[in-house]
Symmetry: C2
Subunit: 345 residues, 2 copies
DNA sequence: CTGAAAGCGCTTACAG
DNA sequence: CTGAAAGCGCTTACAG
């Protein structure tokens, strides 16, 4: 009986959340003082702040971020992701959340899958009053850009894209990536390279292709070809490679739109078509995902400067949050060639 | 000049968020009516609701979820992740967010890394008034469990663990996984298997080990050994394998605590130690990550029933959200042996 | 720097 | 079913 009562009181004690009012009472100050004490930018004297903190600590007070967000910043940053299958994005997501948390904000993760309207997704994030929004997407459909522009919330697109200039976008130089891949293959002595494209409509893919072919031609290579690859996935790379070698013109090297496709392609070459890599066919990817340096793949690739790209994205986003008049800008970072074992020495 | 003014007005129009009050005015009803119209469970007549919706649509009104959350549900579900390096977790995160969104809620993603206090992280999520919390973690430190218990918010641990019963937890039967791995290796004719353990303190690892050894002994196998593996990562599996073969007792098969370790281990065997897999040494993992079925690894493994585990986690979480008196329970799902090419036929 | 008071946008007893 | 009013927990001009 007494046990029961005690249980109930414990439960009630758990349920009741302590508020500014109670802290104010306990500290013998106004609620404004409590509010200010928990707001780093507010003007409040040190003694007062400490008095409040002491009372707050003894009551185990935690500010309610929702209530705070309704008048002030929500401390929420939206992250919109579309390509949840590509392992490339796991470390990226990891770093984004870490950086956001480092700035005392938190991540609202929105997963936009195929059958979801991207415009609706953007609007939805806005219902949470997010302070800013990060969009990671290999594809960058115009409706998405439009949706971002119509919001007055800062948006940064962490893209593989670059043509857009009405919204802030961070990407690596994909034309350069194409150049580098061409050099890598030509330098290694390959003569008939093919580009295996990624999903249609991704300008990153187009830029890589453009850079690749431009450099090939520049260096006098004539026998190149471009083939469709499908989505950014192991299976797509695998299947595309099989298709390539049914053509009459067989390439002696493949440049894939990204690493995970390249891994699939390498396996098709080695385990299905019986080629040796790099002796018979050379392979280059883009990204430098973790798997690329495994002993099984040991993939030559063009590394995107992920850390810098993320850092720039976060910096730009928070600058936009602080200063809403900052014009959108386009940040393009250089990539880096990483020669491993999938190309001849 | 006129341009300037127009720009300003557009900007103002963007900034002003339309509220219940304006919708109420436009529709000629009370704010209560507007609120009810947007609340599926509220009792309101169809005509009234439609009148409100019409006005809301014409004003492009979107409810402010933060304001709503302060009195009612926040529609926010926290997801706490620790193992952001393991590709195993990308599809899991993907499915969780999808399921949460399907229920008209959204995911607050918290990344708990090494130097972050897990207790602090849990408390922090609570500041957002999340309706519920999902924790995915290979390790399950007691402080975490305690932190969860002290909150009155529903928590589900998506674990590889099972011993705990003071909080709802969903996992697969890791002892069974160990049994299956033992059977797989013994059935294939291996005689001296070793278990390569995962991070210490992960009961999943211990359970797998226990199940593995129990079955080996049961079937009369004496020459087994257990070695430390380190963290769940490619490199850890690679290094551990190198160490194993420096011992005087060389195993002829390795059961790794998870797939990504097994991939690293296979590469060490093939590319560093010169063994053939599966002829010289057999390899089995746990998880069935996407990479496991690549042609390069073609890894025999014990598959965790991820989809079911996620579905059960989400179902359990929302049941707890609906009924706060539901006692915690432990849901353990069976796993499945997947024989591929890393074990002899 | 500090406090009293109004307000943020929404919800929810309370009457009718 | 509907509306007027109080309230959620916090912030922020406004005075002092």
């Amino acid at each position: 009986m007494s046990k029961q009562i005690q249980d109930e009181s414990t439960q009630i004690q758990k349920k009741r959340k302590v508020t500014v009012v109670e802290v104010a009472e306990a500290a013998g100050v106004s609620v404004s003082a409590v509010s200010r004490a928990f707001n780093p930018e507010a003007s409040i004297s040190l003694p007062l702040r400490e008095k409040v903190f002491k009372a707050a600590a003894s009551l185990n007070y935690k500010p309610n971020r929702l209530a705070r967000g309704i008048k002030s910043r929500s401390s929420l940053v939206g992250i919109l992701m579309t390509d949840f299958n590509n392992p490339f994005y796991l470390p990226i997501l990891s770093r984004f959340t870490t950086e956001i948390q480092r700035r005392n904000c938190h991540s609202l993760l929105i997963h936009v899958d195929g059958d979801m309207d991207i415009q609706a997704a953007v609007e939805l994030v806005m219902e949470y009053n997010v302070d800013g929004l990060i969009i990671t997407s290999a594809t960058l459909p115009q409706p998405l850009v439009d949706a971002c522009r119509s919001q007055n919330t800062p948006v940064v697109i962490f893209g593989r894209d670059s043509s857009e200039n009405s919204v802030t976008i961070v990407s690596c130089d994909n034309v350069l990536a194409g150049n580098m891949a061409a050099d890598m293959l030509l330098d290694a002595g390959y003569l008939k390279p093919a580009f295996v494209a990624g999903p249609i409509g991704t300008s990153a893919t187009l830029d890589r292709q453009r850079g690749f072919i431009a450099r090939l031609m520049e260096r006098g290579c004539q026998e190149w070809q471009v083939v469709e690859g499908g989505e950014f996935s192991y299976d797509a790379g695998f299947d595309a490679t099989l298709r390539v070698f049914q053509h009459t013109e067989k390439p002696d090297a493949l440049f894939f739109a990204d690493d995970i496709m390249a891994c699939g392609g390498m396996d098709a070459l080695r385990y299905e078509l019986g080629f040796r890599v790099p002796e018979d066919v050379g392979v280059v990817g883009v990204d430098d995902i973790r798997l690329a340096k495994s002993r099984s793949y040991n993939l030559s690739t063009i590394r995107q400067p992920n850390e810098q790209m993320i850092q720039s994205s976060i910096d730009a986003l928070f600058e936009h949050i602080s200063d809403s008049n900052l014009p959108p800008r386009s940040i393009t970072l250089p990539c880096e060639a990483v020669v491993r074992g999938s190309t001849k020495k």
